[in-house]
Amino acid sequence: MTFLIVAALGLLAAYALYIAALTARAGTPLLDGGADIPGWAAMFTAAGVMVAGPGLADHLNLVSRFGLQAVHPAMGLVPGAMAGLVVHKRLWVAARIAGMTSPGEALGRYYGSVTLRVVVLTLAILFALPFSAHLLSGTGQIVATATDGAVPRAVAVWVLAFFLFLPAVIGGWRASVLVFAMQAVLLAALFGAITTFAEGTLAAPGFLTTGIPVAEGILHDRLPGVIQNSAGIGKEAAQGGIFTAVGILSSALVFVGIALSPGMLFLGQTTAPGRSKGFGAVWLTAGLGGVALLVLLPLLAARPTLAADLVAAEPLAAVGLILLFVTAGQLAVAFFTTSGTLIVTRELILPFIVPGLSAWGERLAARIALAVAYATLATLAAFAPLFSAVFGSMAIPFAVQLLPALLGLCFVRWISRAAVIAGLVFGLVLVTFTEPPGLILFEGLFLDLPWGRWPLTIHSAAWGLAFNLGVVLLASVFTARGVERAHRDRLHDEFFARWAVPQPRGNGRTALWSLTLIWAFFAMGPGAILGNSFFSRPIFTETEAALGLPSLWVWQILFWLAGCALVWWLAHRAHLGRIDATLLRRIDLPDPAITRDPARAPDWIAAGLARLTREVR
């Protein structure tokens, strides 16, 4: 078994090196892959990251513990795909017409704010290091467990990190995305194959006969209410499980956070034009991703001894199961670490720390940055898994807080810099104090707080976003017509002139947004509670329907299919999934926050570097 696992992982590593070497020989730019990443690779990568990003093994673990209620947040793939469509196309256009080549630069230049650049850089680092280290640590643990300790966790972590680092440092962004795409296809194939194999060969009862076995007191096939007056995880246990209807609505924001993470924004900006964004969002992210997480995952989670049963039935299938989770971990870790490092290199190192480098120097700087990032990643994952888990928990909820800023850049011109920054401050503080880092620090330094993680069973991302949006709306009332409005209007005027979203005939526009809100209410909002018994004890009758399937699962699948239709509408009817490069026209959008020479490092960075180099001498 150990040999088979190591051989399979070795083959994948060899493939990654092969693609990286070919890419390097083709002379592709290291930092952005020439900004014409093939559409097919980008759409498979995006879908793969959406499924693997929240942590596939962690997700399976939650489903095993809480049953179908923990499956329900995967409905967030639909709003995640929608968020990607709404933001990525306009960000791509902004990158091409105004030269905003990375997400931090786009937000920073549009709003004229250095703070926003710093926020995006911080987010990129959070995703690249603690968040990825947490995933890598889990992946190393899977390898260690699967090999019965023959490959210890720390060794697995270092070896995996090294073989994720090599393709990135040799082939850069383009090679990395080509490899991610293959890993995403592999994920899809393994998901389908392993589930089919398990259902077809294993004699032990599965999901369709016994459901998901959970601990006593947990509702395995129902939602435990619309909302619960719970102080939060760590303070008070919610009755029947933590995934109430409102909890699901808020947890679904995790997928929006992945779609708005700096790495995904960077991928969107560096993709070639075409129809891939729409196809990927509809058929891969919402479609295939939904099949994996909503339909297939419960079947796997219902078999507590799945791995052992597969080893007995067919060792290669067991290797496939291990490969499924290890590949998911590798995909997410490499994606966030490589993209985060390249963003930091583009936005901080090259323009401010070592400005004026030659092309060769820039490649070297990027490679050194990648080496430092992967070494730090492996160190954190191997020796500080708890630290990584605690601080990594903030990455996704923080990313969700970028939503108002990105909506402002893409569509809503009256959202001002002051409003965005004020909203971000509130959002980030709320997230910090509803996630472990804030709670641990505050309670360790001062006094116990009356709430724990995710109070009222509401995810921290939603706590932050609610306050964030409220403050943004309020502040925009007073600042919408500030002095920098004309600067923001230049980009929006160009969007309006050449990239306007076509208005549907009749009441189509109203219908789209109304249907989306109604869908959200019933699919994953308070209305989802109806799914508990809607198909097993239909209303207006006294009889019980012998469906043979949990009512909640049928509800989830039906509303997921309806959600896919909404994504299709947004992608194709609203033309947000299609980019026509012939409409591009360059505009000049200088950064009002940087009035001096943009190639000159800020004084505080220059002074810090000078002090450091003096001490070295």
Binding site: A8, Y15, I19, L22, T23, R25, A26, G27, T28, P29, D32, G34, A35, D36, P38, W40, A41, F44, A95, R96, G99, T101, L178, A181, M182, V185, L186, A188, A189, L190, A193, F197, T201, A272, A313, E314, L316, A317, G320, L323, A581, L584
Partner: protein
Amino acid sequence: MTGVPSDRQQRLDRHALVMAVWLPAAFVAAVLFHHGFGPGGVWWLMGGFAVVLAGFVAHVIVNAILGTDFTLREVALGLFAFALAALALVLAVLLTPGFAAVFFWPTALGLVALAIAVVTYMVIRFGPRAAFERFDIIRDNNPRRASRLPHRGGRA
């Protein structure tokens, strides 16, 4: 920022896509074949052939979308793998007692199905005459000028 990908880069992108299709398909097919030739039986074996067939169809779709054709290396690799599989079948029938009784027909049918799929693809892609000409080595070696007339194929 937007660059036009070079020919080399486009070839690499296509190659990566083809590999992304075949690597997962090959792994899944290997699992199914291994289980089929072991305790699983005939249906799992057929499942393995179905996955290989699906991989071939996906490869054809890739070619259709990108406007390309199978490369010489891909054709050579495909023929080599097919010949190897056929040889393995013959050797297994001859050397493994009891193999032929259980596995000969499903394996042979699977291989024949793959061959039919390739021929069908060629007929659809090139038409019956051009598809036949790809194998028509005899006429390639025909020195008579008449064999090169347009209505007889018009070869250069």
